[in-house]
Subunit: 428 residues, 4 copies
C-alpha cells in the first residue's frame, strides 16, 4: 500500500465509493444460488460466499478492530475462517478446504456484510486520519480485486458442471475491427511505476528508470483466429516451441486448446467456448483468452516474436491510451451491462485495457528500491515476488480503477483460469 | 435382490410404505441448509442433495423408465449425474466430483422427488407383477440404506467445520446398564443366511450350513471405557497388536483415538466426542463407535480375544434376540426422536442391533452358491466382494427393517465414518 | 512357525541342508552384475543384494545373536538396514528406499554371508535343542521363499529395462499336453491344514474341519490360449465381469493383457511375452501367468465358473497328487536347469504344483484356533491376514519343499509380478 | 553456444584438452563402486554411470554421427537411453527412471567412453571447420558441467545412506579469514554479458547495457556463523521473512537448517554437516552452502538486506577479481586435491568464485536480443528460462573455466543439493 499524505478523495466521496463498491460485490453474487456460492472446483478457486466474507473480514480486521474503540467482532470465529493468507493475523482455515465449509451460509454472510457496512458507514461519517483513509481505500481496491476473482472463480465452477449453466443471460456486444500492425519505440531510458496522488499498490512503486533497446509492440491483441492458426500448425505438438516446464505441463494436463474451449464431436462447426453467458462458437476476431503464460510464450515463439517486458508495455500503453495514466477513468464493470461488454473480451482498437490481461516476459519481482508497507497489509503483494509472471492491462471483468497503466497483476505461468491473453513484441 | 414370488405386502401397504420411506428422507434433510447439502468433505462422502436425487434416480431408472409406457425422464441429464456405480446404465459423474455440482439445487431436487413420487404413486395404484413389486421394495431398501449414509455423511460434513455445528438439538437418552459376561456356543454345523418370505438382499442368500468350533461371544459391545483402557495401555503405539496394513494406516493417518474424538488442551476433563447433536464428553458406558476394522482387530488382540466371524455372530444373535429373525421388526429411526435414541449408540442389554455396526473377522465374499440378480441391479452387492470386511447388527442410525439377523453390511477395513464398533469373541 | 518337539532331520542332515540352501541363493545371484543387484523398480521389488543380506540377517538376528554366547554382529548397522518388517526387532530402513542403498556392496554382502555361514556351521556341529533346530529350519524356509522373490524381482528389474536383457540363456522344455475336463468332489466335511512331523509355517495350522458343498475343479490350469479368447471377447472392456475395485484398477493401470505381455506393432505374430530367458511368442498351451486376482476372478466369471476356495483346492490336490502330502518331495529349482523347467510354467498333467501359483476365492485369514508363534518370528505370517488373497500350489520358481498341499501363499489382489495363474471351479 | 569464427585453441590444444576433460570425468568416478554409480536418490539426481554415458552420447550424437562419414553408433539403444532432454533428437528414457537401469553396467560404459574417445581423437587429428571445433568445445563445457553435477549427485547418494559413507578421504584445507565490510558501487549504465573470443554459453549473450541504482555488495559470502544466528533468532519460524512459496516449502519439507546439516541428539557439540569427506562439525567461518533461494532470500530480509541482481554481481565481481574476466583462468578441480580445496567451500578473501554458487535476485530470463543456437544444441539453455533463479560465481566443485564473470547458472528456488550460498546486497 502506498502511504499517501492526502486522502484519495474528499471524505463524502470515500463514503459514497465505499457504498458503491460494497453493493457491487453483492450485485455480482445475486445471480448465484446458495449452492453455487458454496463449492470450490479446484484449489485456486474460492467459493463466492468466501469472497463476500473475506472482503468484509478485511475491513473488520484492519479498520474496525484497530480503529473503532469498543468494536466487537461480529463472530470471533471469522477471524480464523476468512483470513486468506495474512500470517501476521494468525492461523487460518486451509485454502483447499474452503469448499467444505457450509456455515456460515449466505444469509449469515449477508448479515455480516450489513453489520460491517453499518459500522464502516458510521466511521466514514467522522473525520479520519489520512492513513486510515488510505487503508480504507486499500480495502476497497482489495474488494474490487476480489470482484474480478469472483467472476473468474464462478466461471470455473459453472463450466465444471456437466450442465454448463450460465451466469447471466444477454446479447453479445457488437464487435468492431481491432487495430493492425506494429507500434514502434526507439528504446532508451524510460520511466515507469506509480508516482501520482491517487491510489496504487505498493508493488507499483517506486517510479524508476529502465533502459530499453528499440522494439515494437503489436497494435492489437492476439486473436482467436491467430490461435486457431497456431493450433492448425501443430503448436501444441511441437516441443521446440515450448519452455521445458511448459512442455511438461502440456503433456501432463493434455492441453490442446485454451481453457474452456471444447470440440464437440457432433458439432460440425468446430470449436466452441464456454462463457459466463453460456457456450458459443469461437469468434476469430475476438482476443484469445484463458491461455497460460506457457502457451502465450510458445505462441510468440511460433509467430517469430516474443512477449513484451513490462517496461515496454507500460511506456507504450500510457502513451497510446491516455486514460491509463489517470486514476479510475477506465470504464468499470456495470451490472446492468454484465451480459454486454463486461463479460466478454472486446475486440476494438488497440485493446490496452478492458479486454484481457496481457502476459509479459517479466517475472514478478520488486522494483529497485521497493519496500512493502509495514504491518500485516505489507503481506499484500511483496511475498508473492517469485515464480510468477507479470500481466498488464486489465480484462473485461476488471473493475474500474484497476486498469492503471502502472498496475502489475501476477499469476503462475500455468494459470489459465484468469482472463489472460497476450500481445506480441519484437526487437528492432 | 431376492426374487420373491409373492409381494412383500399387500399393494396398499406397499404404497403406504413408499410414501413413508420417501418422506422420511426429506425429513432427514430438512434440518440442513442448501449449503450443508452441497459439499463433499472426502471422496467417501456424498452431498445430502445427491443422496436425495440418487435414490429418486433409482426409481426413475429401474421402475418408471422400463415399466411405465410413455414415461419421460424428468431431466435427461440426471441419468448421468445421479448414477452411483451402475456400469450397465452407462457413464456417470465421477464420485469425487459430486461436491462440485451446484446444479440442480435443492429446490429442483425437491421438484424431482415430487414428480417421481407422483408417478410412482400412480403406478402403485395399479395391479403390479410380483417382480415389479419386488423391484420397488428393493428401491425402498436402497433408499433406507441411503438414509443411514446421509446421516454418516452429514456427520462428517458438520464435524469437518471448525465451527462444529450440530445437526439437531435434543437431550440424550437415559442409559441403562449393558449386559456383562460371555455367551457360550458349542459350535457344530449351523445354518445361516436368508430364506424367508420377506425382503432380503441377494448377498444374504442362499441359506446354507457352516461348521463352527466352540466359542463364546461377549454379552455386550466394547465400550468407550474399554477403549480408554486400550489407549491408556498404549494400544495405538504397540505395533505387535496390529495387522501390518493397519499399523501403516495408524502411522500415515496419525490415529490415536476413534474418529470424532478430540482432546482439547484446555479441557481438563479429557476426551470429548463430536456427535450429531454437538460435542460432549466421552461416556464410558456407551459402546465405542467410529473405529475402523484395523482398530477393532487390534483391540481384540490386546484384550486376548478376537473378532467373531459372521456365522458365529448370526447364530447367536438370532437366538438371543428373536426380533432379528423377522422382517422390519426392529425399531426404526424416528425423526421426532432423532435427538433421542436415534442418533446415539444405545448401551442397554446385549446390544445386538440398533446401537453400532459390529465388525467381524469375515472378509466380505459370496456365500456358497451365491448368484447376483440379473441385470443392472445385479451390481448392487456382488461386485464389492473383495477387500472389505463384513459388519453385522445395525446402528442407531439404521432404519427399520435393516436390522435383520442375516443382514450383511460391508466396509473397507480403514473406514471410520460409518457407525462402527465391535463385540469380542473367544475360542472355547 | 510350528513348534516341533523333534528335529526336522538328524543334525548332519540339517547342516548339509543349510549349506545347500545358502549356496543355492548365491547361485541364483551369480548371473547378475553388481548393478543388477542394486536397483528397485517398484516398491514391491527388493534389490537382489538386499535379499542376500536380509536372509543372512535372519540367522544372525534370531539364531546367532540370542544363541551363540559372545557372538558379535558382523556390522551393527545391518540390524537396521536388513530388517524387513519385524517391528519387535526395532526400527528399519524404509522399504521403498532399498533401491537407494549402495553400501554395503555385493562384495561386502558376500563376506557377510560367508561370516554368518561359518558361525552357523560351527553351531550346527554342536548338539542343538529341538527349538533351535526348528528356528534354523524356519530360517531356511524363509530363505527359500526369498529365492523365489529374488527371481520374481529380478524378472521385473530386467523387464523394466528398455534393453530387456535376459537372466540366463537356454532352451525351452518340451511341452506335453495337459489334462482336460473336471475333477468332481461330493463336498461334505473335509479336513485341511498341516499336522505332520515336518516343517510347516504357523499359518497352515491347526488342522481343522471345513464343510463343503459339491463342486468340481478344472483338471488343468487356465492356459494362454484360454486367456487370448478372453481378451478377444473383450474381457478387459466389460465392466460386468469385474469386481468394482478390479475394474478401477484396470482403468487406472491400463491393463489389457497379463503383465510382461507386449504387442509389438511390427510383430505380425501378435503377442510376445518377456521371460527370464528373454522375449518369446505367447505359447497357447502353457498356463497363463502374471495375472492379478482381479483378472483371475473376472476370467472365471467370463467362463461361467468361479475360483476355488482354498479348502476345495487342498482336499482335491492332496488326493490327486500324493507328493503334495509329504515334505520337500516336489522337485526343486536346480541351477543347472534354470533355463529348463525351472523358469517357465509347465504344461503337463494336472499342474497342481511346480507351474504357477493358483489364486483362490479365499481371503487370507487365520484358521480357527490359529495362534502365531511367540516372539519376533510370530510376525512372520499373522500380521498380513487382511486385504490379501490366498494362492495355492507353487510355481516353477518355487524351491523344493514349498509345494506342500497345505502351503498358503498370499498376495494383494492387484499383484501381478508373482508367478500367478488360476484353475477354475464350479458348483455341482 | 556462441558461434565463434576462430577455433577456441589451436587444434593440438583442443585435442589435449579433450583428453584432459574426458579423463577427469573418469577420475571423478573412480572412487565409486558399481553400486554407487547406479542409484538415483531423487528425481533431480542422476546416476554417476548415466553422467558418464550421457556426456559421451553428446559427442557421438552431435559430433561423430553428423560429421564422421561412416560412423556407426556404439549401440543404437544408447540414443534413447542417454538423451537427457533434447526433444529434437527423439524420445528418451524418462528421467525419474534412470535409477532403474542396470544395463549397460559400468564396464560397458567404460568401453563406450573409450570407443568414442578413440573416434574423437582421430577426428581431432584432422583439420576441422571452426563450427565443428566450437561444437566440440561446447561438448567439453557440457561435460565439465556434468562433472560438477556428478559431485552434487553423488553427495546426495552417499548422504542418503544411513551409513553416510565418504567419497574420498583427506584433510581439510587451512582457512584464512575472509574479507569484511561492503563494496560500494555508484550505479548508472553498466555493460554485462559475454563478448570475448573464448567459449561462452549462448545465455551469456549478447553483451548489453543495464541501468543500476547505487548499491553495495557484501565483501564476503554469508557464513555458517551468520546462518546459526539466523536460526537462533527463529529465522525458520518467522513467516514474515519468507516468500509465500518459500514458507509453504519450509512447512512441507520441515526445513530447519541447510541441507546436510544434522543435529545429533547425543552430540553436545551441536550441528554437524555431511560432506564429501564425511561428517564434521559446522565451521562458523566457512561460507554457508546447500541453502535454497527461498532460504537465501529470507536470510537477506532478516539481515535487513537483499540479494544482488545479476548485473550488480557481475559488474562488481569482474572489477574486483580480474581473473573472472578471462577464460579458464580460475583454478580447477584437481583430483589429487579433491580432499583439499576442491570439495569444501573456501573462506578466504572476497570469495567471488571457487567457493559456492551465489543466489541472485534475478529470475533466469533471456538477455535483450538473445537468440538460442540453431538445431538441437539450441535446447541447451533457452528452454529453461522460466521459474528458475540465476546464480553467479562458481563453487569449489566447479571445473576450471566455468567461473567466468559472465557465467549464468540457474536452479529452481527450492533446490538445495547444488553447492549454493549467498552474498548480501543493499541499496545506497
Amino acid at each position: 500500500m502506498k502511504t499517501v499524505t492526502r486522502p484519495v478523495a474528499a471524505q463524502a466521496e470515500l463514503r459514497a465509493r465505499f457504498r458503491e463498491v460494497r453493493s457491487f460485490t453483492e450485485a455480482l453474487a445475486s445471480p448465484l444460488s446458495a449452492e453455487d456460492q458454496t463449492v470450490q472446483t479446484m484449489p485456486d478457486v474460492s467459493p463466492t460466499k468466501w469472497h463476500r466474507a473475506h472482503t468484509t473480514w478485511f475491513f473488520e480486521t484492519f479498520v474496525l478492530g484497530p480503529h473503532v474503540p469498543g468494536h466487537r467482532d461480529f463472530d470471533p470465529d471469522y477471524r480464523f475462517l476468512f483470513n486468506s493468507y495474512y500470517e501476521a493475523v494468525g492461523p487460518r482455515h486451509a485454502r483447499p478446504q474452503r469448499g467444505t465449509l457450509t456455515r456460515p451460509g449466505i444469509a449469515e454472510i449477508a448479515s455480516y456484510r450489513r453489520a460491517v457496512d453499518e459500522a464502516m458507514d458510521a466511521l466514514l461519517g467522522q473525520g479520519l486520519a489520512p492513513e486510515l483513509e488510505a487503508l480504507i481505500e486499500l480495502g476497497l481496491n482489495h474488494e474490487q480485486q476480489h470482484q474480478e476473482l469472483m467472476l473468474m472463480d464462478i466461471k470455473h465452477v459453472l463450466a465444471t458442471s456437466p450442465l454448463a449453466p450460465l451466469y447471466v443471460d444477454g446479447p453479445f456486444p457488437p464487435l468492431s475491427a481491432p487495430a493492425e500492425g506494429w507500434i514502434e519505440h526507439p528504446g532508451g531510458v524510460v520511466t515507469i511505476g506509480y508516482d501520482g496522488d491517487g491510489f496504487s499498490f505498493d508493488n507499483e512503486c517506486p517510479r524508476h528508470e529502465e533502459l530499453l533497446t528499440p522494439f515494437a509492440l503489436g497494435a492489437r491483441l492476439v486473436s482467436n483466429g491467430d490461435w486457431l492458426e497456431f493450433m492448425a500448425d501443430g503448436g501444441y505438438d511441437k516441443a521446440e516451441l515450448w519452455m521445458s516446464d511448459g512442455w511438461a505441463t502440456v503433456q501432463s494436463e493434455g492441453w490442446e486448446a485454451p481453457e474452456y474451449w471444447a470440440l464437440d464431436a457432433r458439432d460440425i462447426d468446430g470449436w466452441s467456448v464456454q462463457t459466463l453467458t453460456g457456450p458459443r462458437p469461437v469468434a476469430p476476431d475476438e482476443p484469445v483468452v484463458h491461455v497460460s503464460w506457457y502457451e502465450a510464450d510458445a505462441f510468440a515463439r511460433w509467430a517469430g516474436a516474443r512477449l513484451p517486458c513490462e517496461a515496454e508495455w507500460e511506456v507504450v500503453a500510457v502513451e497510446r491510451e491516455p486514460a491509463l495514466s489517470g486514476v479510475r477513468t477506465a470504464p468499470g464493470l456495470d451490472l446492468d451491462g454484465l451480459a454486454g461488454p463486461g463479460l466478454h473480451p472486446l475486440s476494438c482498437g488497440e485493446q490496452w485495457a478492458g479486454s484481457v490481461w496481457q502476459w509479459t516476459a517479466s517475472s514478478y519481482s520488486p522494483y529497485p528500491g521497493f519496500h512493502p508497507a509495514p504491518g500485516a497489509v505489507g503481506e499484500y503483494n511483496g511475498k508473492f515476488m517469485v515464480n510468477q509472471q507479470v500481466l498488464r492491462g486489465g480484462a473485461c471483468v476488471t473493475p474500474a480503477g484497476h486498469t492503471r497503466g502502472t498496475y502489475r497483476n501476477f499469476f503462475y505461468p500455468a494459470s489459465r483460469w484468469p482472463f489472460t491473453g497476450l500481445r506480441l513484441a519484437v526487437d528492432r
